[in-house]
Amino acid sequence: MKTTVQKINNLTIGFQSQKGEQISILKNISTSINQGETVGIVGESGSGKSTLALAMMGYVKHGLFTISGECIFHSNNLLEMKNKELENIRGRKIAMIPQNAGQSLTPNLKIGYQIDEALKLHTDLKQTERDEKISELLNKVRLPSPETMAQRYPHELSGGQQQRVAVAMALAGSPEILLLDEPTTGLDVTTQAHVLELLNLIAKDSGTSMVYVSHDLGAIAQVSDRVIVMYSGEIVLDGPVRSILKNPIHPYTFGLLKSIPKLSLPGLPNSMSGSQPQPGSIKKGCSFYERCEFADDDCKVNSPSLEFIKDLNTSVRCFKHNELLNLTKIESQNVKSIENKVLKNEILDLSSVSISYAKQKFLDQLLNKINDTNPTVKDINININKGETLALVGESGSGKSTILKSIAGLLKTKDGNIKFEKDKTLSNDLRQRDPSLLRAIQLIFQNPDESLNPNHTVEEIVSQPLRLYFGLKGKELKDKIIEVLDKVRLGEFYLTRYPRQLSGGEKQRVAVARAFAAKPDIILCDEVTSALDVSVQAAVLNLLQELKEDFGTTYIFVSHDLAVVRAISDRVAVLYQGRLCEIGPSNNVYKFPSHPYTEVLLGAVLEPDPDIKPKLVAEDIVEEKPPENGCSFQGRCPRILGDICKNEVPPWQTSENGNSIRCHIKIEDLKNQQTSN
């Protein structure tokens, strides 16, 4: 029997609404954390998972207060302790690793100072001992040259390095519990896999209990022993990781797992309808009733309580869990495979496109030329057929969004041509593009919060392209708006809403509607699902696919998420440092032989299955600039040959699967090496 380190009893945290009502964000949470155990808390935004993690440190955010319940740590209730007493627990007994390390490190203080501060507070070490300890900690989180690293300011580090510093800082006090609040969310796939591996090592080494909060079931699956699923401020499922992910006996988890695109299962995942209810809006019945496929009238009136299922060692909050238990064979989940009518005529052609962010000198500006021998994006040759979905993948800094911006005319190209429908060259200057060309290419952005004007109603937003390109007015305009909104499944009553009154998924639907209102030939999708919750992501992907089938639109889909890309695209282009590495039909890019970079990316993908471990083949170094000569991936390549990779740009080779790989290693050799291990 393991000892319990923290126990939470009937915890309810909420806020006072403007009408004076008490609205709960956390409802009656009871659970406990055992020594040496890693507990994953999963839920979508607004489910209360971060509030719960903060409460475990006795911290309640400004505006919230504890309505009832307690957080017991070593027989003290943290929520009733004074700040003075809490200072001795925070960082020493319970430490936090924050979501966004970049914003959680104080900008004016050096890394070394910030770690030293934690050491000074929580240990009795002397100055010299502390200096040694700082190096030791930085070494432990595998940061290069600890001594110089300690002298740096937070902004001088990359995202992954900042996250490692945050881990080092949390470890400074040798805490009994580590709380991790979405510690890998902002990071690149490869970096994320490396940070998770590090956390696993630390948990094993030190026997620290960890509480890992995330919306990402893939990450949760890799680190947790036990998983708590939260929905609308309640625990709906609590049990061992395998039981939760393989036998999800709560309809929310069941639907959630089905809505995640997986590498092992190509095709569009099933989407879950609706969105999480606003806090305080559910007065009686199950909070998942609205979105539940299994609900009946009983669920509408009565709230289920958390019930312990002995066979699975799992607690569940659902009346129907027996029904689900019989149903849970996720392997048999039905995914829609996509079949796009790709016509053989070319719609867009990029030939030797280079884009530079270098600042122009005054003289060059006058002569309107760009002098840069090593541009951010170089030598991109891609042609896209009508009706096709082409995906651009790569980590941040790979130039994928840059290429999109150039096609849209928002960024000037340095060299090369972009041709539309074979004969129309797209001008570098947006003002010189014909309105019909502008209409033909539309853009959907990553974050609908920023791409929708907050002072415009949905009607005004969708009416813009209709008025601009088709000159519609009055009733005709209104009918058309309603028609377009209907296409993205938004009813007429959305017309008068403002973006702030919509959920994340609804906002992105409005953005999709705005793009389709222009009747475009090509839609550029820039990480359109990255800002959305998993359950909403599948719905937006399905919507995009349906619209495409209706209108025969061509998509260029930029994403860092290889599973999402696999689900939606016909062809994939892999980019590293603004250079193409590999391009080919998406089924084949995901098969070996691959470019070594594709191999690295594929290895780092986290599947929501604790039995599929990521394969880490390359270090997650961040390169600031592409190399001047040779292969773009030479700095990180696990299969580097030697000088040839440093001096010569690799040739294009075509594999038997039809994907083109740009590498010095012979295709056959690549295949042998990659399939042997």
Binding site: R90, R92, P98, N108, E117
Partner: protein
């Protein structure tokens, strides 16, 4: 870093050059000129010619600009019309007097503003904040000529604690000036302090809500240590520029307040020379005030550059 400093200084000089052009051109295009104004109804014939000769007005404008600008660079603004004496001799002591007044206001105002701003932010929405915020908003909204007049009424007339107006000669030494400037300093610094305190308050509140302050709390950093190490350096940095703008804006306040208190400084000279249409003096004052404005902003920019590790390293890299 070094080049950046040089660049900023050059930009400041260019600004001043443009200001001097505009003031010169402005005086030039006004109907009438210094001589017609000065001679009034005698402005014809020989008297006018003689005046033009004496002031050098019969040479082309660009030549006059060059010789004027050359003079300004050597602290020589030519002759005033009314007194027929060298402007720099008139200006010297007045500039000194105004600087005494302004610096006293700044030296007293800034620390008080910082203190009030920090207190209101840390005790946000509680009694200290509510009281101080009410008072600062109140004093922000009263223009200085009203608050100055009220001060005279209450302190000088009803309570009879301090003299209501300043009756020292222009050439008075600082020690003679000091007892007289208490009321003007209060009047000037009231608005400025209130303004700055509000800025500091919102800046501190913003930083207090940041992720890194939450992180410091969760790390177990004691409250006051957190305030001094994690909050204030980051909150006060953006406030430097605001302080500079407020100081520059204070120059206008000084003008009004000096008139109310009959203080022998630049402000009174501005008003007098404008009403006398003493154009050379107006021109000289414009360029002096502009220099102060540009100078203060330059200092603030450089201070921000020096203190912000982010900007500092950015420039070194380049």
């Amino acid at each position: 870093m070094f080049f950046l400093v040089i660049k900023r200084i050059l930009l400041g000089l260019i600004t001043l050059f443009i200001v001097s052009l505009i003031t010169f051109a402005g005086v030039e295009v006004l109907p009438g000129d210094a001589c017609t104004t000065y001679l009034e109804r005698q402005a014809f014939g020989q008297a006018l010619e003689a005046c033009y000769d004496r002031l050098g007005l019969n040479v082309p404008a660009y030549e006059r600009y060059i010789s004027w600008a050359w003079g300004v660079l050597q602290w020589d603004f030519g002759y005033s019309l009314s007194g027929e004496m060298k402007i720099n001799e008139v200006l010297g002591p007045k500039v000194k007097n105004s600087l005494v007044l302004a610096s006293a206001s700044i030296l007293i105002g800034i620390p008080i503003a910082l203190l009030l701003g920090i207190i209101t932010a840390l005790w946000r929405d509680r009694l200290p904040d509510i009281i101080i915020s009410t008072v600062t908003i109140f004093s922000m909204t009263i223009p200085e000529f009203i608050s100055a007049t009220l001060l005279i009424l209450i302190v000088a007339i009803w309570l009879e604690w301090l003299p209501g107006i300043v009756i020292v000669p222009t050439e008075a030494s600082i020690s003679e000036l000091l007892p007289n400037i208490i009321l003007p300093v209060i009047a000037i610094s009231m608005i400025m302090t209130a303004h700055m305190a509000r800025m500091v308050r919102s800046s501190v509140i913003q930083v207090m809500a940041s992720d890194y302050v939450q992180m410091a709390i969760l790390k177990g950093v004691p409250y006051w240590k957190m305030v001094f190490r994690h909050v204030l350096p980051n909150a006060l940095l953006p406030a430097i520029n605001v302080v500079a703008l407020t100081i520059a804006w204070l120059l206008g306040g000084v003008v009004v307040t000096e008139v109310v208190f009959n203080y022998p400084g630049l402000g009174r000279l501005v008003i007098e020379s404008i009403s006398n249409r003493d154009l050379p003096v107006v021109q000289a004052l414009a360029i002096i005030l502009a220099s102060i404005y540009v100078g203060i902003n330059l200092i603030a920019d450089l201070a921000t550059l020096m203190l912000n590790p982010r900007l500092k390293s950015l420039q070194i890299k380049k």
